[in-house]
Point group: C2
């Protein structure tokens, strides 16, 4: 029996159903933010499944959780697959979790089919991909790839002031795993991540497998506008320094400036704060976040310059500033891995297409360490980061079958 | 000695200083929201001062707190003065509190000068004028004037879900006062309220006393925009239902539509909520408040129609709605009381001018019960609803001297 044939659609689906209970919301989504109690529960469940199959587990100093199926040559660099188990505050059941479960299903399928591989094959759950509680996102993989400093990340705080180091210690206490000594990161021979597309293209073009060729670049900003609190009933417009009126002018101009003809740029204002937040007080301060993405780094740089101009020209009479908080350049995946994914999908008679990824993924960091690639499957109406996110059991299994084939090839290279 | 001469500037100022400690903020303002522990402390202090002077105190079912200096004809309807002791979350030391302390200083001045009045003279602290925690504002005076239903107000909830009835019971437990039986409201012969202007006109025109002729009308609205949460990196603009992009289009059009040439309309968006509030999720919902004021009710109605048009025309593809939550028509004060204020200021050789009030005040409700008027004094740069709100001891005393003269005249009518 081939590894792909040993993938069990029912088992994989049931694991998704079981996972969705950890942080499950009334609307059918999940709220399983990084290093929460729900995250710890997800870690414990993965560890229990791993132990039941005789796989070894360990964690590292940023809390990435690894599962290892031994190879016939244990000293060879492993091939690895995985994704993340944390979710948005009102997230879906498949974003990230599918990649972890598909990787684990691959290890089980290889085991069930009695397939020995030269290299070890590993599944990984990266810490804090979403970045909704602790910024920046894709943190665990970035620390693993030495792109972010461990100490700097451990010092990050969430919106309530909780320090990441403390939240991580709490999580590892609740979900213990053997700790790998030293700084995170070790040699990996190849990395493949599967994920729901989180966009509508595969569904629209009726394809089952997305052969991911690249990840667009992404930059985040915080815009801060200072005004002056004043009485809403008495203060003439001419005498106001209304932080929210200025924020609205800035945001309106930014939405307009980022309306590109081919709808390739992604521009999002996701978090907005206005203080003091009293209906009859002119706002004294407003802060909002910008998330901007595009496959071309030069295009991103040129839009960034435009955002700066808008803040300068539209804020008066309020002082305002825009600060870039993250800058992840575009990633181009390894042509060898891309070819293996395309070949496996075709061999398995699964409709497929080459496509870039709109979303950032842990793979963008690991791609700086070793040959890497990704496999996408469709999600309903392209909706993600939403409690109604949905994907079909057969598509999830199809993506996993492609993954097993690719991992087997890579592990025997 | 006249009542006006018995006003003690130092005593009045010291009372302001003492009051500012209750809910005092590091920036020198106050956070003493309605029915908070700080509000209870302010009530206890007023009651203690009243008892020390032999004045009686009582409260009513909405928590208005009354201090009574007996008249020679106790059964005659009292004349009354007062304002409120609650503040904005980042409020100043004078807004409302000055009117209560000026009224109390007037009672003390009459007492110190040994002046007997035919009618009782009362000071009042109305419950929840600001409306920043529980909506609507000017609640205590409106219930007293039977413009709002007591039961409906007791059922209001703050942003955290606390029911007003429970917060009031808590406050009266912490600051007990004899309860007047029955529904709030009793016959009052005349009402005069003093207040800082909360705008820049007196300061700009170098006048000490504002003879307030009217209060502009005020309407509040809540605008709700529904969108669809989606992934910020993958969802094309054309496929988005971005609640905040729609909110920005609506707000920008409203700011533009309310930019009147003579700068008379007051238009404020003071509270804004965007959810889920994650930087990399397209907002699924946005809610904001509008506070709009003008001296002419017809003008307000015509702007309201325009706001409705904007919500309808700018929200697509998001469903959106605008709901009016309060509508307080303009108030014209009693010409007799206006004349008494103007005459007293002139007699005391205080520079003065007639002016309408930009802000709403409890007097707008009491004016529906009995002849009423207001006295304004300048505040620094016209800034109010701000922790840096400031006023001078001599102006505060000047306004109080005018008040004593007017109350004495009214109480002996």
């Amino acid at each position: 029996m081939s590894g792909a044939n040993a993938v069990k659609e029912d088992r994989l689906w049931q694991r998704h159903v079981d996972r969705a209970k950890l942080g499950g919301t009334p609307k059918g989504g999940v709220n399983r933010q990084a290093l929460s109690a729900e995250d710890a529960a997800a870690r414990n469940l993965l560890a229990a499944w791993a132990r039941a199959r005789g796989f070894s587990i360990f964690t590292d100093a940023i809390g990435n959780l690894f599962v290892r199926r031994e190879g016939t040559h244990p000293h060879e660099q492993p091939v690895m697959s995985g994704s993340h188990m944390d979710s948005q505050p009102t997230g879906g059941r498949f974003d990230g979790m599918y990649g972890v479960l598909a990787a684990f299903e691959s290890l089980e399928a290889l085991e069930d089919a009695g397939i020995k591989t030269k290299r070890p094959v590993m599944a990984v759950a990266w810490t804090n991909e979403e970045g909704s509680r602790f910024q920046p996102g894709a943190m665990g993989s970035a620390v693993f790839a030495r792109r972010y400093e461990l100490d700097e990340m451990l010092a990050q705080k969430d919106w309530k002031g909780v320090v990441l180091k403390d939240a991580l210690a709490e999580t590892l206490k609740a979900a213990p795993a053997p700790m790998r000594a030293g700084q995170p990161g070790f040699a990996v021979d190849a990395y493949v991540e599967v994920h729901i597309e989180q966009g509508p293209r595969l569904e629209n073009e009726k394809k089952t497998i997305g052969v991911v060729t690249a990840i667009q670049g992404s930059r985040r900003y915080i815009v801060t506008i200072d005004g002056e609190e004043a009485h809403a009933g008495t203060t003439p417009r001419a005498a106001r320094k209304d932080a929210y009126a200025a924020a609205t002018r800035i945001a309106a101009a930014m939405y307009e400036a980022t309306t590109d003809q081919d709808d390739t740029l992604r521009f999002t204002i996701g978090r907005v704060e206005v203080s003091p937040g009293s209906p009859n007080t002119v706002p004294g301060k407003s802060v909002f976040t910008i998330d901007m993405r595009h496959p071309d780094n030069d295009v991103l740089a040129s839009y960034e310059a435009r955002l700066h101009e808008i803040v300068q020209s539209k804020a008066a009479p309020c002082p305002a500033a825009i600060e870039r908080v993250t800058n992840v350049p575009p990633t181009n995946f390894d042509t060898g891995v891309i070819g293996l994914v395309r070949d496996a999908a075709t061999r398995l008679k699964l409709t497929n297409m080459d496509m870039p990824s709109g979303a950032g993924h842990d793979a963008m960091h690991i791609a700086t360490l070793c040959p890497a690639g990704m496999i996408f499957v469709p999600c309903e109406r392209g909706i993600s980061h939403n409690e109604i996110e949905n994907a079909s059991p057969s598509d999830l299994a199809a993506g996993t079958r492609v993954l097993v084939e690719v991992l087997e090839k890579l592990a025997n290279k």
